[in-house]
């Protein structure tokens, strides 16, 4: 008997990761549709105190695995811990974020449990007692929906695709400790180093305005006017893979299927053709403004506003116009 919808929570910098709140939102809605509880697995070291956060954000029941060997993510350690939680919770589905952790943990856990995973999903619903997951495929050119023949269905959710439920500190939930007995020496994938690439200014994922440039910008220097526009609007600069591959921008600024997933209020696509693999990273943007000299560019199809012109002509004027508006 399956008992609920379980979220594999993620802890980042001592707090519940924002992606986990989004996934909890999806799990809460799915659990309600299926008439089951929303469960959460809190795996780590020194994390027990965060259980109440998960309850405030929608979990009815939290399973805590708090052990020193789980201080840092490892595939072996976390799969083993989740295997134990799965046995205690016996959920219909396990949901997690499509994050550094989730994209690694999800499929291996699914195979460990003799089941399957659908990764990077935009939505998950319960239809007639069945879990249905919807995900983009073919570089964002197509969408697929899936049902599962085996249980639990393991599903990862793309960031910015789901809304969290509003925090409610009066919510009640049950906390259960699970002893996984993870031995550090049994973890084969060992973390031996870490390199942070510090982003200057606003993080792309948090930015409300993003000015993104592509191959059409033509050079690293060409991006300076994009930087000015970003500054004028309090935003951040992003790029396509083409711009990053050319070395004009650091890879940490790449937006898309294999880059960052962003969801700003306003997204400028400048000198960007609008390939599905790029647009996959900004489908969460509320308003896209495309500036492209080719009127046939596919990017206009997903844009609210468009300017058909050379960016070198219009962008400096746009910087001025925005400065005036903001003044």
């Amino acid at each position: 008997m399956a008992n609920g919808i379980l979220v594999a929570a993620e802890v980042s910098g001592g707090a519940v990761a924002s992606i986990t709140l989004e996934v909890l939102g999806a799990a809460r809605r799915l659990a309600d549709q299926m008439g089951k509880p929303a469960q959460a697995a809190l795996v780590g070291s020194g994390v027990e105190g965060l259980a109440k956060e998960l309850i405030a954000h929608g979990a009815d029941q939290v399973f805590v695995v708090d052990e020193p060997a789980l201080a840092k993510y490892s595939c072996d350690g976390f799969v083993a811990a989740m295997e134990k939680v799965n046995a205690a919770a016996s959920p219909d589905a396990i949901l997690m974020g499509q994050s550094d952790m989730g994209r690694d943990l999800g499929p291996r856990l699914a195979f460990r449990l003799g089941s399957v995973s659908a990764m990077d999903c935009l939505n998950v619903t319960g239809e007639g007692g069945k879990v249905i997951a919807e995900r983009p495929c073919y570089g964002g050119n197509a969408r697929a929906t899936y049902s599962f023949n085996t249980s639990p269905a393991v599903i990862s959710i793309r960031s910015k695709a789901q809304e969290p439920v509003a925090r409610d500190d009066s919510r009640q939930g049950q906390v259960t400790k699970v002893d996984a007995g993870i031995d550090a020496s049994a973890i084969r994938d060992k973390l031996v180093g870490h390199q942070e690439v510090a982003e200057e200014g606003i993080r792309l994922e948090d930015a409300d305005v993003i000015v993104a440039g592509g191959r059409g910008i033509g050079s690293a220097e060409g991006f300076s006017v994009l930087e000015e526009l970003a500054r004028a609007l309090g935003g951040a600069v992003g790029a396509t893979r083409a711009a990053c591959d050319n070395g004009w921008r650091p890879v940490s600024e790449q937006i898309g299927l294999t880059g960052k997933i962003v969801g700003p209020t306003l997204y400028f696509a400048v000198g960007i053709s609008g390939a599905s693999q790029h647009m996959a990273g900004c489908t969460g943007a509320k308003n896209i403004v495309a500036i492209n000299k080719d009127p046939e560019a596919i990017v206009f199809k997903s844009s609210r506003f468009g300017i058909v012109d050379d960016y070198k002509k219009v962008l400096p004027a746009l910087v001025e116009a925005c400065r005036k508006l903001k003044a």
């Binding site: 049902s147 023949n149 982003e199 599905s276 997903s302 508006l325």
Partner: protein, 268 residues
């Protein structure tokens, strides 16, 4: 014994083909192959072969075997890998393999066991058709070996593999004992392009062909009879956005108009 590296390569429709050439047959739940668009080696899988070649270059000696599961035409991606510099090629082709990622992972893991004596298995981070990103983990789980994903570099040091694993911000360095499985990401760089002479040499190389029987797999336990993930629907998302083109006589006029429209709509 020199290192033995196995790379898994899939044949996919060219993901860089123009979007206008992309069409879905919703009834058949299939992507329609566009005329004039030739199938290619999945981009990240070419990088898996590249990563293997870089390890071989550094070690001075290593054997690289590539495996592809797919129709007869998938021989082309095996040949492409051989032309890049891989030593041996295996093609798993059998209608019994038409299933989901589970069957693919099972058949590939059985083939790897049959080849035997491997130290490292390399896969792409995701196949550039379905973008699933799961098969590598299935192979590792079925072989009972550690997995490390999203490599931007892979090196072998003694009896372990050292991987720089790409994160949203920066990267981790992860070590695992051999044999291990590593999935490769685009940050690895560019795959080498085969030279004409290598293409000619690869053309003469024999590709080993195996079916379900050769792998000791009961045809009823794989493929359609063992599907775990049901494809319910496949469709092309439609964008509902109406694009308002902002025009004017001068750049200043266009820019001012756009800024005003954004202000009116309370976007800025």
């Amino acid at each position: 014994m020199p290192l033995h590296i196995i790379a898994c390569v899939k044949q996919v429709p060219d993901p860089e083909a123009p979007a206008s050439a992309f069409r879905v047959d919703e009834a058949a739940k299939k992507v329609v192959a566009a005329a004039g668009v030739t199938p290619v080696i999945s981009q990240f899988d070419a990088l898996a072969v590249e990563a293997a070649l870089r390890i071989k270059d550094a070690a001075g000696d290593a054997k690289i075997t590539v495996i592809s599961l797919g129709p007869e035409t998938a021989r082309d991606v095996v040949k492409h890998s051989l032309a890049m510099g891989a030593d041996e090629g295996v093609l798993l082709t059998d209608s019994a393999f038409d299933g989901d990622s589970y069957t693919t992972a099972l058949a590939l893991s059985k083939a790897i066991e049959k080849i035997g004596d491997y130290n490292l298995v390399l896969c792409g981070r995701q196949a550039t058709d379905w973008d699933a990103g799961v098969v590598g983990y299935g192979i590792a789980e079925m072989l009972g070996i550690p997995s490390v994903s999203l490599a931007k570099s892979v090196t072998v040091q003694g009896d372990k593999v050292v991987v720089e694993r790409v994160l949203m911000e920066g990267y981790d360095t992860i070590e695992a004992p051999l044999p291990a499985l590593v999935t490769v990401s685009n940050e690895l760089g560019e795959p080498r392009y085969p030279k004409l002479q290598q293409i000619m040499m690869a053309a003469r190389k024999q590709v080993t062909i195996w079916g379900a029987g050769d792998l000791g797999l009961d045809a009823s336990k794989v493929g359609a009879g063992a599907v775990r993930l049901n494809l319910e629907r496949l469709f092309q998302p439609v964008s509902e956005v109406e694009c308002e083109i902002v025009e004017g006589e001068t750049p200043d006029e266009i820019a001012t108009k756009l800024a005003q429209r954004l202000r009116e709509q309370k976007i800025i």
